[in-house]
């Protein structure tokens, strides 16, 4: 079962070196060493985003994130875990490591 583990940040600050070190340690010694790792990445600040809309005639580009909000997606993991209990346990450790709130959401149709 694959889960998207999103990092939710209250502001636009990126991870500080201490947090980065904890994240790397968690990635290497827990997720990769124990076979849960699929992919992960930290995102640049929300201000660097571009929204693209090509649903109708002619593509429209908009500068900035698609939603102005107080909370932003700061990064994510994709993990493979047998069930939600395992995913939540890993997410709890991830939240501690990156010092941010985390949302766990299952992928649909990827076993």
């Amino acid at each position: 079962m694959h889960y998207l583990v999103s990092v939710i940040a209250d502001g636009t600050e990126l991870a500080i070196p201490g947090e980065m070190a904890a994240i790397n340690e968690f990635n290497d010694n827990r997720l990769k060493a124990e076979g849960y790792w699929v992919f992960a990445g930290g995102l640049a600040s929300p201000g660097t985003a571009t929204v693209v809309d090509n649903r109708d005639e002619g593509v429209v580009f908009t500068d900035g994130p698609f939603l102005e909000s107080k909370e932003y997606l700061a990064g994510f993991w994709i993990i493979e875990a047998p069930d939600l209990d395992v995913a939540l346990k890993l997410a709890a450790e991830g939240s501690r490591a990156c010092n941010r709130k985390i949302e766990v959401r299952p992928f649909q149709g990827i076993a």
């Binding site: 047998p82 069930d83 939600l84 209990d85 939540l88 766990v104 959401r105 299952p106 076993a111």
Partner: protein, 408 residues
């Protein structure tokens, strides 16, 4: 005919949770299990009056429900072969080697009380899946529209499936936290029955307290060594024992000092006391529910209010406050202190809680009673007014109004 109806009611009490639990494990799907169990009971209602009650009603119901579930899966397989097959393959995991207990009913309850579900959802799902209450019954209990309750349960089942909330007894390492999560759900159900929050419901809803006790008995049978499970059961029994004495004929809440102690249920009290003694004998440090049960054991041991061993009650509240330093515990402790050291000392303790409890009716009700005992009628009246404004329970409002109007 009547015998058959009794047999069906009994089977529903005894077997519903077993049937749902066994089917959930076999088919890995709460929705299929619930529907098939409901169909099996409907078939029993239809057939038992004519065919007679089967010698083993539980086995009959499980077999019938299994057949209903397989019928449904066959029907759906014709539509959507591969997906359903994949679902049937999942959930053949061997039981966790770490868990000491392995019972389908426990698995079911742990799934319904999973911390990834909202508390209200956990309560509703537990009452439906483990308690066998119908959707209209649950909707009425929580004062929501039946459609809204149906949606909540449907959403919960969808989340359990899509996010793969496991159907399993948690590992030994997680067990204490998860058991206390289950107990919290059952205690909330009980309290909602014992002191209903809404102004439009009966002040006491026996079906909820009875269901909470039944499910706690079940957990106790499955986890006999757990002290807090025993504590919660004792607490519920000792509270339930006073139920009929607690509301007057005119629908007014009767406080402990005014209750007719002869109307208390002696059998429930004896059972509760037995559980409390059993826990004391283990010599293990008690948790929150065990301490609350012990406090209620002291109250129910006194034949009259003035025979109450208040120093013992205060000592138990001190012990509770060390585990749970919440202002509510401090408030209840102060009520006991009033009996031991007088209302003046108690009022000092209560007034210190103003910041955190100013929005809570019991804070104002307690102050009002203490002020009344101190002869400060005007302040007492104002405090009763605030308590009445904040209280939601009809019986409680009536009792507060009467006490206020008795002031000179």
């Amino acid at each position: 005919m009547t015998d058959v109806r009794v047999a069906i009611t009994e089977a529903h009490h005894d077997e519903w949770v077993r049937v749902v639990a066994a089917l959930t494990r076999r088919f890995g799907d709460l929705d299929i299990a619930e529907e098939a169990a409901a169909e099996a009971f409907a078939t029993a209602v239809e057939r038992w009056p004519a065919d007679g009650v089967p010698p083993n009603p539980g086995a009959w119901l499980t077999t019938t429900a299994n057949r209903k579930a397989i019928d449904r899966i066959r029907r759906e397989n014709k539509r959507d072969d591969k997906q359903k097959e994949a679902q049937l393959l999942y959930d053949n995991d061997p039981p966790e080697p770490l868990s000491a207990i392995d019972d389908d009913r426990l698995r079911l309850i742990f799934t319904c009380c999973h911390p990834a579900l909202a508390m209200e959802t956990r309560m509703a799902l537990t009452l439906r899946m483990a308690g066998g209450l119908t959707m209209p019954q649950i909707a009425r209990a929580f004062l929501v529209q039946e459609a809204a309750m149906g949606q909540r349960i449907t959403r919960a089942k969808a989340k359990i499936k899509a996010a793969r909330i496991p159907y399993r007894v948690p590992s030994a390492e997680d067990l204490p936290a998860r058991v206390s999560g289950v107990l919290a759900v059952l205690y909330l159900v009980f309290n909602e029955g014992y002191l209903a929050t809404g102004p439009e419901t009966d002040p006491v809803r026996h079906e909820l307290t009875a269901e909470a006790i039944r499910l706690t008995r079940l957990i106790r049978a499955l986890l006999p060594e757990d002290g807090e499970v025993a504590g919660l059961l004792a607490l519920m029994l000792l509270t339930e024992a006073r139920r009929t004495a607690r509301v007057s004929a005119s629908g007014e809440l009767v406080t402990l000092d005014e209750q007719d102690r002869g109307a208390w249920d002696a059998a429930l009290i004896a059972e509760g006391h037995r559980l409390v003694r059993e826990r004391l004998a283990t010599g293990q440090a008690p948790g929150r529910y065990q301490i609350l049960a012990a406090i209620n054991a002291v109250h129910t041991s006194a034949r009259e209010m003035r025979e109450t061993d208040w120093s013992q009650v205060v000592a138990l509240y001190d012990q509770l406050a060390r585990l749970d330093p919440s202002p509510i515990v401090a408030l209840n402790r102060a009520i006991a202190v009033a009996e031991l050291d007088g209302p003046q000392v108690a009022l000092g303790a209560v007034d210190r809680l103003e910041d955190t409890l100013v929005g809570y009716h019991a804070y104002h009700a307690t102050r009002a009673d203490l002020l009344r005992r101190l002869g400060r009628s005007q302040e007492s009246r104002a405090a009763y007014d605030q308590a009445i404004e904040l209280a939601g329970n009809t019986a409680e409002t009536a009792s507060l109004t009467r006490r206020r109007d008795r002031l000179g």
